[in-house]
C-alpha cells in the first residue's frame, strides 16, 4: 500500500484532518472519507462537471484536484449551500424553474452557477450558457437551467438593492 499523508480540510465550515493516499482525489475524499455524497462523479476526463465544488470560493472540478492539493483550504459542497428547510436562492431557483430532472448533474450545476453569480451578479443569457459549458446535463436540454440561473440573479438583485 502507498504511504499516506495528513490533510487538513475545512469543509462546509467544519475542520477535518484526514490521513490519505497522496493520489486520493478530492472528490473521493469528500464522498468516501467524509460521507458527503452530494458531489457526484460522471466522467473520467473532467468534462461533465458533476463533481464541481468551491475551493476557497472558486469553482473547481473536484475530480481534478488531489486531496493533498486542497490541504488547508476551505471547501464548500452542495451540502454546505443550503438545506431542505433553508434553501440557497440558487437551489430555490432550480426548483422553481424545473431546472433538473434526474438530479445527478444538479449539485455541480448549482455550484458552478453560484460561482458565476459571485463573479458576475447580472449575467446575460449568453454569459450563463458559456459559464455552464463545463457542466453536462443529459436531461433538461439546459433551457430551464439557464432560466433558473437568470432567475436567481434577478431575485438576488432585488435583495441587494
Amino acid at each position: 500500500m502507498s504511504s499516506t499523508v495528513n490533510v487538513r480540510l475545512n469543509v462546509n465550515g467544519t475542520e477535518h484532518e484526514l490521513e490519505v493516499e497522496p493520489r486520493l482525489l478530492l472528490v473521493h475524499a469528500l464522498r468516501d472519507e467524509l460521507g458527503l455524497t452530494g458531489t457526484h462523479v460522471g466522467c473520467d476526463t473532467s468534462n461533465c462537471g458533476a463533481c464541481t465544488v468551491h475551493l476557497n470560493g472558486e469553482s473547481v472540478k473536484s475530480c481534478t484536484v488531489l486531496a493533498v492539493q486542497a490541504d488547508g483550504a476551505e471547501v464548500t459542497t452542495i451540502e454546505g449551500l443550503g438545506t431542505e428547510d433553508n434553501l440557497h436562492p440558487m437551489q430555490e431557483a432550480f426548483w422553481n424553474n424545473h431546472g433538473l430532472q434526474c438530479g445527478y448533474c444538479t449539485p455541480g450545476m448549482i455550484m458552478s452557477a453560484t460561482a458565476l453569480l459571485a463573479e458576475n451578479s447580472d449575467p446575460t443569457e449568453d454569459e450563463v450558457r458559456h459559464a455552464l459549458e463545463g457542466n453536462l446535463c443529459r436531461c433538461t436540454g439546459y433551457h430551464n437551467i439557464v432560466k433558473a440561473v437568470l432567475d436567481a440573479a434577478e431575485k438576488s438583485k432585488g435583495v441587494t438593492a
Binding site: H28, N47, C137, T140, I145, K147
Partner: protein, 796 residues
C-alpha cells in the same frame, strides 16, 4: 404556452413544482454509489482491448498477490450460472440467431470492452490497480466493423451461424410495387441513422448483498422488476429471496433498460465471497460496453402523384446490432416499422429489416428506440419529394395527413392510431413561425452569402408500451406482458402511499402521480407519497421505458385510486345515511352531493376503516391493488420547426430557433411536459449535429470518453419555444399519452431538413447525420460526392 384558458379545477393540469426536487437540489438524494455497506468489497473488470480474439491465457497471479485483493474471477469460474444473459424477444415464425452471452467472456472476445476477468478487493483504487496487473494473452481474429461488409461476410462474429445475419423481419400493408406504379415521382435515398450513446450522466453501478439465503441488489437500472426475475433465474434463487432496488437513478435514456452481466456478476460474487460487492462503472467503460443505439443503414423509396399524394413507401433497414443480442436488441427496428407511415395516409407501406452482427458494442433501446430512425427516414424523404414536385414542404405534409375524422385510424400495416389532429398542431406551429417572412429574410440573407434554412418535422409515434395482447408472446413476441401495476395504501391518518410498478429516474412521476391521486381523494399532493423502484415494496411491475410510465403506470394508479374512492364512498354513505352514488369529492371532503358542509375528510374515513367500524360485509383497512393492461398503445404527435444558419466557409451549423408544438393528450403537469420536450429535442439535436459513436476499421472505439464524444453543452444551444395542443387519448381514463421520447423522435429530422433547406442553392440535397462541419463542408465542396467509405462520406 397556452392551451386552454380554463384553469383546471384540481391539481391535474396544473404546473406544480416537483416533489422529487428538495432531496436532489440539496445533495441528499441517494444514488447507488452513495450506498456503503459494512464489509463491502469493490469489483473492477478487466476488459478486452481487442475487437475479436481468442483468449489464449489469463495470468492473474500478480493481481491476486496485491494487498487488499480477495479474488480474481474469469468466465470459467462462473460455470454454475443457470444460463446466459437474456434476450427476451421471440417473434413468432421468425428465426433469430442468438449466441450465448456471458457476464465474463468464455474463450473469445467479440468487441472492445468485452469483460474477460474481474478483480474483487478492498477499495476502488486497489481493484483498479490490480486489474491492470492481470495479463491476458489474445490471439486476434478477423474483425468486421461495417454492417454492409458484415452482411456480405465472412469474417463472422459468431462462426457457428456461418453468417453475420441475426434475423429478417418484415411488416407490410397494401402493395408497394403497385403504389410505385401509380406514382408520378419516386424518390430513393440512403438514410443513415448512425450509432449514438445513451450517456446518462450517472454511469451504471451495482451493489449486491447476499446474506442468509437472500439477495439484495441496488442497481442504477430502469427495470428493477426484470432484473429481479433474471437474477433469480440465473442464480437459482426464488424470486421471494431476491430484492432489487433502483435507488435514485441518474438518467437512463434506454441504456439502463437492460439486464447486464455486471449486475449478475456482483450478485454471484457476493454469494461466493459472503460479502457485499459494489461495482461503479467508469465513463470509459460506459462508452464502450453499456448498450448503444440506432446504427441503421436504410434504403428508402417514396412515391407520390404530381399533386403530392404519397402512393407508397418502402424501407429496407440494415440494423447493426453489434456483437450480441441484448434483452430486446433485434426488436428495436421493428418499433419504427409500426409507425413507418408516420402521420400520413399512405396506402402501401413496407418495412424490411435485416439485423447483423459486427465486432462492436451491442445496440438496444436508446431514447426513441426505432422511432427516431423511422421519422428521419420519412421526413427527409418527404422533403426531397416536395422539392422534386416543386411543392412547399408544409403543404405536402398537410396534403397527406391522416384526417381527424379517420380516428381511431388504421394504418396500411394494421396499426390502430388512437387519436390525432395533425392539422391543429401544424396550425399552431404556423402561429409561431411566419414562414412567408422567413422566406423573404432567407432570400435577402442568401444574397449576402448567409445560408439560413428552415426545416419541418410532423410526426407521430407509438408508445405507452403495453398492451400485452399485442406486445406479448402471442403478439409481437416479447416474453413478458407489458401491463402495469399500482398499489395504494391510505394510512390511519389519511396520508397516502402509492406503490407504482414503474421505475422513474428523472421524469417527475412522483409529482404527476401525486397530482392524479390527490384530485381523486380530495387531499393535497404533499400527503401522497409515491414509492417506486423496489421489488419488495408493492406488487410486481413492468418498469419504465417506451414513454409508458404515465399512460400505463399513471392509469394503473388512477384505477387503484378509483377502487379506494369506491370504498370510501361506501363508508361515507353509511355514515351519512346516503347512497354511495350521491357521494362526491368536494372541497377536500367526501360529501353528499348538494350538502358540502356535512362531508368527511379522507383521514376521518381512514380512521373508520382501520378501527373496523365499516359497514357489514366490508373488509377493514383502506388499501387496493390494480393490474392494468390497456387495449392499445398511445400515439402522441406534433409539429416541429428548426431554423439554422450554416457557415458555407466552415460547414458549421448553428441552431438559431427551435419551435416544438406537441400533443401528448391530456396534460397532467404542463411543466413536466415542457421539460421532457426540451431534453428530448436536445437528444435529437445532439444526434443530428454532434454525437456519434465511432469505431475505426479494426473495431477500436475512437469515442471512448466525453473528450471525444460530443454531448451538446449549454453554449451550443438556443432557448426553445414550446406549445401544445391537447387531443385526449381514448385508451385510458386520463386521456394521457407519453412524452419522454417525443422530442427526440422529431428533432433530428427537423434539424437535417433545416440544413438542407439552407444549402439547396449550393446544390446540396442531402447529407447524412451527424452534420458536423467536416461533412457539411465536404458536401458544399462537392455536392455530387458519392458514398465513399464505411466511415461514410457526406452522402453515406
Amino acid at each position: 404556452m397556452s392551451v386552454t384558458d380554463e384553469a383546471p379545477a384540481g391539481h391535474v393540469g396544473r404546473v406544480m413544482r416537483r416533489k422529487e426536487d428538495p432531496r436532489l437540489i440539496t445533495g441528499r438524494a441517494r444514488y447507488v454509489d452513495d450506498i456503503v455497506l459494512p464489509g463491502m468489497l469493490w469489483a473492477s473488470f478487466v476488459r478486452s482491448p481487442e475487437a475479436h480474439a481468442t483468449i489464449v491465457s489469463i495470468d492473474a497471479s500478480a493481481a491476486v498477490a496485491r494487498d487488499g485483493v480477495h479474488a480474481v474471477f474469469t468466465g470459467e469460474d462462473m460455470s454454475d450460472l443457470g444460463g446466459p444473459l437474456p434476450m427476451a424477444w421471440v417473434p413468432p415464425g421468425v428465426e433469430v440467431n442468438n449466441p450465448e452471452h456471458w457476464p465474463l467472456a468464455r474463450g473469445t472476445v467479440k468487441h472492445v470492452g468485452d469483460p474477460v476477468a474481474v478483480v474483487v478487493g478492498e477499495d476502488r483504487y486497489v481493484v483498479q490497480d490490480a486489474a491492470e496487473d492481470v495479463i491476458v494473452e489474445y490471439d486476434p481474429l478477423p474483425v468486421v466493423v461495417d454492417a454492409e461488409a458484415a452482411i456480405a461476410g465472412p469474417p463472422f462474429v459468431h462462426e457457428q451461424f456461418g453468417t453475420n445475419q441475426v434475423h429478417q423481419w418484415s411488416l407490410a400493408g397494401g402493395d408497394v410495387e403497385a403504389g410505385f406504379a401509380e406514382a408520378d415521382v419516386v424518390v430513393e435515398r440512403r438514410v443513415v441513422n448512425h450509432r449514438i450513446a445513451g450517456a446518462p450522466i450517472e454511469c451504471r453501478g451495482v451493489l449486491a448483498d447476499y446474506r442468509a439465503g437472500s439477495l439484495t441488489l441496488w442497481s442504477a437500472t430502469q427495470v428493477p422488476h426484470f432484473v429481479r426475475l433474471f437474477m433469480a433465474l440465473l442464480l437459482g434463487l426464488g424470486e421471494d429471496h431476491v430484492r432489487v432496488i433502483a435507488p435514485e437513478v441518474g438518467g437512463g435514456f434506454g441504456q439502463k433498460l437492460q439486464v447486464y452481466g455486471e449486475e449478475l456478476f456482483a450478485c454471484w460474487a457476493s454469494r461466493k465471497l459472503g460479502r457485499p460487492v459494489k461495482w461503479i462503472e467508469t465513463r470509459s467503460e460506459n462508452m464502450s460496453v453499456a448498450h448503444q443505439g440506432r446504427d441503421q443503414i436504410s434504403t428508402v423509396k417514396m412515391g407520390a402523384k404530381r399533386d403530392g399524394t404519397i402512393t407508397a413507401f418502402h424501407v429496407k433497414i440494415l440494423a447493426d446490432f453489434g456483437a450480441y443480442n441484448m434483452i430486446l436488441t433485434p426488436l428495436i427496428p421493428s418499433l419504427g416499422a409500426f409507425v413507418m407511415g408516420g402521420c400520413y395516409k399512405i396506402p402501401n407501406v413496407q418495412t424490411d429489416i435485416t439485423g447483423v452482427f459486427t465486432n462492436k458494442c451491442p445496440t438496444d433501446a436508446i431514447r426513441g428506440a426505432g422511432r427516431p430512425e423511422a421519422t428521419q427516414m420519412i421526413e427527409v424523404t418527404l422533403d426531397q419529394l416536395a422539392h422534386e414536385l416543386g411543392m412547399d414542404p408544409v403543404e405536402i405534409r398537410r396534403r397527406n395527413f391522416i384526417p381527424k375524422e379517420d380516428f381511431p385510424a388504421e394504418t396500411a400495416t394494421g396499426v390502430i392510431y388512437d387519436s390525432g389532429d395533425y392539422h391543429k398542431t401544424l396550425d399552431k406551429l404556423m402561429e409561431h413561425v411566419d414562414v412567408e417572412a422567413f422566406r423573404a429574410e432567407q432570400a435577402q440573407l442568401r444574397s449576402e452569402g448567409v445560408y439560413r434554412g428552415i426545416g419541418f418535422c410532423t410526426w407521430t409515434e407509438i408508445c405507452g408500451l403495453a398492451p400485452s395482447r399485442i406486445t406479448g408472446p402471442n403478439g409481437v413476441g416479447v416474453q413478458a406482458g407489458l401491463w402495469e401495476s399500482a398499489m395504494i395504501r391510505v394510512h390511519n391518518t389519511g396520508a397516502v402511499t402509492v406503490y407504482t410498478g414503474t421505475s422513474p429516474h428523472g421524469q417527475g412521476l412522483e409529482t404527476a402521480m401525486a397530482q392524479i391521486v390527490a384530485d381523486k381523494l380530495g387531499v393535497d399532493p404533499s400527503v401522497v407519497e409515491i414509492i417506486h423502484g423496489d421489488t419488495s415494496m408493492g406488487p410486481e411491475g413492468r418498469n419504465t421505458y417506451g414513454s409508458r410510465s404515465l399512460a400505463t403506470g399513471g392509469e394503473a394508479v388512477a384505477k387503484a385510486t378509483d377502487k379506494i374512492v369506491d370504498k370510501v364512498k361506501a363508508i361515507v354513505a353509511a355514515e351519512l345515511e346516503a347512497a354511495p352514488d350521491d357521494i362526491e369529492v368536494t372541497g377536500g371532503k367526501f360529501a353528499v352531493r348538494g350538502s358540502p358542509d356535512k362531508g368527511m375528510a379522507l383521514a376521518d374515513v381512514a380512521g373508520i376503516a382501520y378501527v373496523g367500524a365499516v359497514p357489514e360485509g366490508m373488509e377493514p383497512g383502506l388499501e387496493e391493488t390494480t393490474f392494468y393492461d390497456p387495449e392499445n398503445f398511445v400515439f402522441p404527435f406534433g409539429a416541429h420547426a428548426c431554423i439554422v444558419d450554416v457557415d458555407a466557409e466552415t460547414g458549421k451549423v448553428v441552431v438559431r430557433r427551435y419551435v416544438a408544438v406537441d400533443d401528448c393528450g391530456r396534460a397532467i403537469n404542463p411543466m413536466l411536459i415542457e421539460g421532457q420536450i426540451h431534453g428530448g429535442v436536445v437528444f435529437g439535436i445532439g444526434q443530428a449535429l454532434y454525437e456519434r459513436v465511432h469505431y475505426d476499421d479494426q473495431g477500436q472505439l475512437i469515442t471512448g470518453t466525453f473528450v471525444d464524444y460530443a454531448l451538446p453543452t449549454a453554449a451550443e444551444l438556443p432557448n426553445f419555444e414550446t406549445d401544445r395542443t391537447e387531443t385526449p387519448s381514448p385508451v385510458n381514463s386520463l386521456g394521457a399519452k407519453g412524452v419522454g421520447e417525443a422530442g427526440t423522435i422529431a428533432a433530428s429530422a427537423a434539424v437535417t431538413n433545416a440544413v438542407i433547406d439552407a444549402l439547396r442553392p449550393l446544390g446540396v440535397d442531402y447529407i447524412n447525420m451527424p452534420l458536423t462541419p467536416m461533412r457539411v463542408w465536404a458536401a458544399i465542396a462537392d455536392p455530387a460526392r458519392p458514398a465513399a467509405s464505411p466511415e461514410g462520406g457526406p452522402r453515406s
